[in-house]
């Protein structure tokens, strides 16, 4: 069996091949050419990155907030409500498969909240993926905060810090550093989980592979191309996180991990 990577230079309309492999997408001011499968592949990559980035943003903001809320002391009525809410959030979004959640956001929830019908599927799938991952990040955040010695919270309070100050200046800076390794896994997972977006018509890499293998009959080449881009993306995320971990490390605070990433 021979692989034919020329197929990426083929026009998506005609049986012609572009000499520069790029058609419409990167024409470099040399007139309009037919888009090639390579153009399409890169556009699809763009969608994968966009879905992942937006979902990651949502997941981090919500995950860190919810995770922190789960660790507050339950003295007042308000804090009891907040703890209940954040626990419910985690259990709800952690216990439903991600593909089911995507369908819920796309087919079911818009039935209940009509305004969501006008939302592009890109946004809905990012919300679904973001909420799903936020539950996992919240769980790690909670574990990170609880792993700190009790004395830290007590010391902060005996210095007269408010609850918010205790978290802002004492607990979170430590906990955030502790959770970077598991967070790296989550960030990489979000890239891989973004493949579910194909199910709701976002033309990302998985949809590209499924469609083009049918059109070109070169499924192996298409899937190899897509696999390579997934690896590049996930590995870049890994390296960025390793860099962040190195840059934010404070010597002596936390037992140094050997090579940055988990």
């Amino acid at each position: 069996m021979s692989l034919d990577f020329q197929i990426f230079c083929k026009s998506t309309f005609e049986d012609t091949y572009s000499p520069r492999c790029f058609g419409e997408f990167f024409q470099f001011g040399q007139g309009t050419a037919d888009p090639t499968y390579l153009d399409w592949l890169l556009t699809a990559w763009g969608w994968t990155i966009s879905v992942s980035a937006l979902a990651l943003f949502i997941a981090l903001v919500i995950g860190i907030t919810i995770g922190t809320l789960r660790t507050i002391s339950n003295e007042t009525f308000l804090s009891k409500v907040l703890i209940f809410f954040s626990n419910a959030w985690v259990e709800l979004f952690r216990n439903i498969p991600v593909l089911v959640q995507v369908f819920l956001w796309y087919h079911v929830i818009p039935m209940l909240i009509p305004i969501l019908k006008n939302f592009p599927s890109f946004l809905l799938v990012s919300i679904a993926l973001g909420f799903f991952t936020s539950a996992r990040i919240a769980e790690q955040m909670k574990a990170g905060i609880f792993s700190l010695p009790k004395g830290q919270r007590m010391a902060a309070q005996s210095l007269g810090m408010t609850k918010v100050q205790t978290y802002r200046y004492i607990l979170l800076p430590m906990a955030m550093r502790i959770v970077i390794p598991p967070l790296t896994s989550e960030c990489m997972n979000i890239v891989k989980n973004s493949a579910v977006a194909f199910a709701v018509s976002v033309s990302e890499l998985t949809l590209f592979a499924m469609q083009t293998q049918e059109e070109t009959s070169k499924g192996i080449e298409m899937y190899l191309g897509v696999t390579a881009l997934y690896i590049v993306t996930a590995f870049s995320v890994n390296r960025v996180m390793a860099w962040i971990e190195r840059k934010t490390r404070i010597p002596g605070f936390i037992a140094p991990s050997s090579q940055g990433s988990h």
């Binding site: 998506t12 309309f13 087919h107 039935m111 019908k117 599927s121 194909f198 199910a199 018509s201 033309s203 949809l207 499924m210 469609q211 293998q213 049918e214 059109e215 070109t216 009959s217 499924g219």
Partner: protein, 302 residues
């Protein structure tokens, strides 16, 4: 000296590859030897091939295949055990090529690119790509779909067809890709899409199984014509294909296939007893009168 770990891995994987490559004996010999045949079937390809649940499959093509296998049993003078393997648009060709599936009885278009990888029996059904809309819709032709939301299924030729049509006419559709036909139909049903462009039999099949079939209609011109055929491995000599073709040609000659068409496309079909209600097209009639395995490209030239 022992080979290094790396070399071991390479040797191991290449020997696996060797096993895969050497199992490609003739399909007919394989069936005669193992006394089993694996039929590739679809979960929801309209009336052509679909599941009744519980691992049971039926449909126009599945029933044709059952008769072909009955003829094979006579020819080989042995009983053959039929195993079903559900396939999708994505995996059907690889599964036929690697020997998992012997006879694919789904809804596969016979085209020139695929003929390089697999072979097709004589065309049993000619598909016409049409538009399905809601019954209260005013859409009657593809020209009216401009700037409308058009659903179609990922991994089908209809996606390419729409894209080419957009460019040739300088118009724009808002395409929505369902992950399978049932999903695309749901998009139409829930109002997320204004139309569903797909093979006529699939549209008709989905409408027949809808909650209220009267809410939908098939409209507009025939957008594309594609020969649909039963698919099998490329053997040389093609003794298996000859057997399959002869069996099907006999059905075409004695009118069995026409009866089966009526049974699946016009009479009530299981599980719900709905009717697909698809008239026999001129193209399909021609294919039965002059049995051939010409690819889709030959139909366009006409």
């Amino acid at each position: 000296m022992k080979p290094s770990k790396f070399v071991q891995v390479i040797l191991f994987s290449s020997s696996l590859l060797g096993i895969v490559c050497t199992t490609q004996a003739g399909t007919l010999e394989k069936i005669a030897e193992t006394k089993t045949i694996t039929m590739g079937v679809r979960d929801s390809s309209g009336a052509l091939s679909y599941t009744l649940g519980d691992g049971k499959y039926t449909g126009f093509h599945v029933e044709i295949c059952k008769r072909v296998i009955a003829d094979l049993e006579k020819k080989l003078k042995t009983s053959i055990k039929v195993e079903y393997q559900s396939v999708t648009s994505q995996n059907r060709i690889p599964l036929v090529q690697n020997g998992t599936v012997d006879l694919e009885c789904g809804s596969t278009t016979n085209n020139a690119t695929r003929q390089k990888d697999v072979s097709f029996a004589v065309t049993t059904y000619v598909e016409e790509v049409r538009i399905a809309v809601k019954a209260d819709s005013n859409i009657t032709s593809i020209a009216q779909l401009v700037n409308k939301k058009v659903a179609t299924t990922t991994g089908t030729t209809s996606v390419q067809l729409l894209r080419k049509h957009e460019r040739a006419n300088g118009v724009n559709f808002e395409e929505i890709f369902g992950k399978d036909h049932a999903d695309s139909f749901l998009l139409l049903e829930s109002g997320r899409a204004d139309a569903f462009v797909m093979d006529g039999s699939i549209l008709a099949g989905n409408i027949a199984n809808a909650k209220n079939p009267k809410d939908f209609k098939i409209v507009g011109e025939v957008l594309s014509v594609e020969p649909i055929a039963i698919m099998m491995r490329k053997d040389s000599p093609a003794s298996f294909k000859t057997e399959v073709d002869n069996s099907i040609k006999a059905m075409m000659k004695d009118g069995t296939i026409a009866k089966m068409y009526k049974q699946w496309f016009q009479d009530p079909i299981p599980p719900k007893g709905n009717r697909v209600g698809l008239e026999l097209s001129e193209n399909t009639k021609n294919a039965w009168a002059n049995p051939n395995d010409k690819p889709a490209e030959d139909y366009i030239k006409k």
